[in-house]
Point group: C2
Chain length 296, copies 2
């Protein structure tokens, strides 16, 4: 596995694809590979792009790739959104439909299946990011569909989190969860050639000022992929906003998440059943019973 890791770090793309498959599968090989890959990480900028289906995330990512390529950056995409044309392949067996960029050797696209994963992003995501980082990709775009847990994940995995919205998608509220606004570093109103874009941008600004007591809000950027407008502003905002220390932050999150799972596995059914009975039969408090379980 350390040979594979070395090949990945040397930039061999076939080996990268193979490494990603190993990491997604998990198990002993993934653990060994990961350990060696970690030595080569720490350079990539990880950009999370989240938003509801229909917000045009994939087209926006296509435009972002173009703009980043013009700056000479090598761009990898991890598509974790099952509704995305990019990750469609992960669900129905059809590979990516990312037309113009598929032949560019400076672009790498990988769809990540969320099969069998309950809650938030696939557990493999931090490992996949590390592999792309080790392989020397300058920017990793992480595309996910907006939902409570994935948003929080995105905010912790990414160096900068972009929430994509769109005019006239369903109701005023636009399927934007309160939590999404709180973790986003940049808000985008995509398809802003459509009527209602100004109104949507105003609503977002308003929600931001209602939500936070800070005087500084994340910027709201209007983009249109067909008009190629707003894309350059978005790219420069990414560079301006990205936080440092991403590698450590991702690792922290992953360790806490693994530790929580390991903890939950240590709670036997019997133990939890007894806790339930003590709540129902003895009128004990749920929080106290839970604390006792945590302190075991």
């Amino acid at each position: 596995m350390s040979t594979l890791a070395a090949a990945v770090a040397a930039g061999h793309e076939g080996n990268l694809a193979r490494a990603l498959t190993v990491l997604e599968k998990g198990g002993v090989d993934a653990i060994a590979l990961r350990r060696t890959l970690l030595e080569h990480t720490g350079r990539a900028m990880v950009v999370g792009v989240t938003g509801p289906p229909g917000a045009g995330k994939s087209s926006l990512i296509g435009a972002l790739i173009g703009a980043l390529r013009n700056e000479g950056k090598r761009v990898a995409v991890l598509a974790v959104d099952p509704s995305s044309p990019l990750s469609g392949g992960a669900v129905l067996g059809d590979r990516t439909r990312m037309g113009e960029h598929t032949l560019d050797p400076g672009v790498f696209i990988r769809s990540v299946s969320s099969r069998g994963q309950s809650g938030g992003l696939s557990r493999a995501v931090p490992a996949l990011i590390d592999a792309l980082d080790a392989a020397g990709w300058d920017v990793v775009l992480l595309e996910t569909v907006g939902s409570g847990q994935s948003d929080v994940d995105i905010a912790e995995y990414a160096d900068v989190a972009v929430l994509v919205s769109v005019p006239g998608l369903g109701d005023d509220v636009q399927a934007i969860k309160a939590g999404m606004l709180e973790v986003a570093d940049i808000l985008v109103v995509n398809k802003s050639d459509l009527p209602g874009a100004a109104r949507t941008a105003r609503q977002l600004e308003q929600m931001l000022s209602l939500r936070s007591s800070d005087s500084v809000h994340p910027p709201v950027i209007r983009t249109s992929v067909p008009d190629a407008s707003g894309i350059d502003s978005l790219v420069s905002e990414l560079g301006r906003t990205a936080r440092a220390g991403g590698r450590l932050r991702r690792l922290r999150k992953e360790i806490v998440r693994e530790a929580e799972s390991a903890f939950a596995l240590r709670l036997s059914k019997d133990l939890v059943d007894r806790a339930c009975r003590s709540v129902l039969d003895e009128g004990r408090e749920i929080s106290v019973v839970a604390l006792e379980l945590a302190a075991r």
Copy 2:
């Protein structure tokens, strides 16, 4: 608080609303109230209704309410989907828009804010379900937007979980996460008066048979609210499919969740940082380090 609980159990609706507010707020009053309410629970059928924005969940719920009311059932709705017109009030301050049923004393609608909640359903949901159960509502409809964690939550909180889909919503994949298919007890193709409904139903059947080795799959039911078709089938399927023991299952889940949180709070930043350093500097394995944290 035990006086309030008694008033709730006696069916006073104003007191129920007040009790739900207390429970949503949390704190000492919520704990005391919850304890007394729990003594009166165990009768309601809890139906989870999940699916992407635009699938027509709210109209379908309106139709379900009508059908359940015809059977003499008293129906409460907890709307946790921030994109739902039902829960719109929780986000933008405008109360529910549930036209025909708002004057029916046999219908109770409450929107649940997911504000500040990261990941999955609001923590207060099991307590709110208990309050509605204690207040004697026969059916509790829990409306959420489909996302990884909320789906898993739904499957554990609800006695029967319904996944609502719709023809022609975006791409073939329909923003349906793999996880959603696995936890749903009933699949609905809503708006099946629209072209493509048969195709969508076939795709779902196909995904179900690819996903599972079981020969028995959840039923796929086609509904149309304007044509009032499929609603009665759905109602009888709900009764047929609902699992028993919901109260205990919800409590189990809540206790495990609280215990996980309590455990994560016990992990100091310093401890996690040391674990990170031992991975990065000493090449230790993440899973081993996590296990050590869990075993402390």
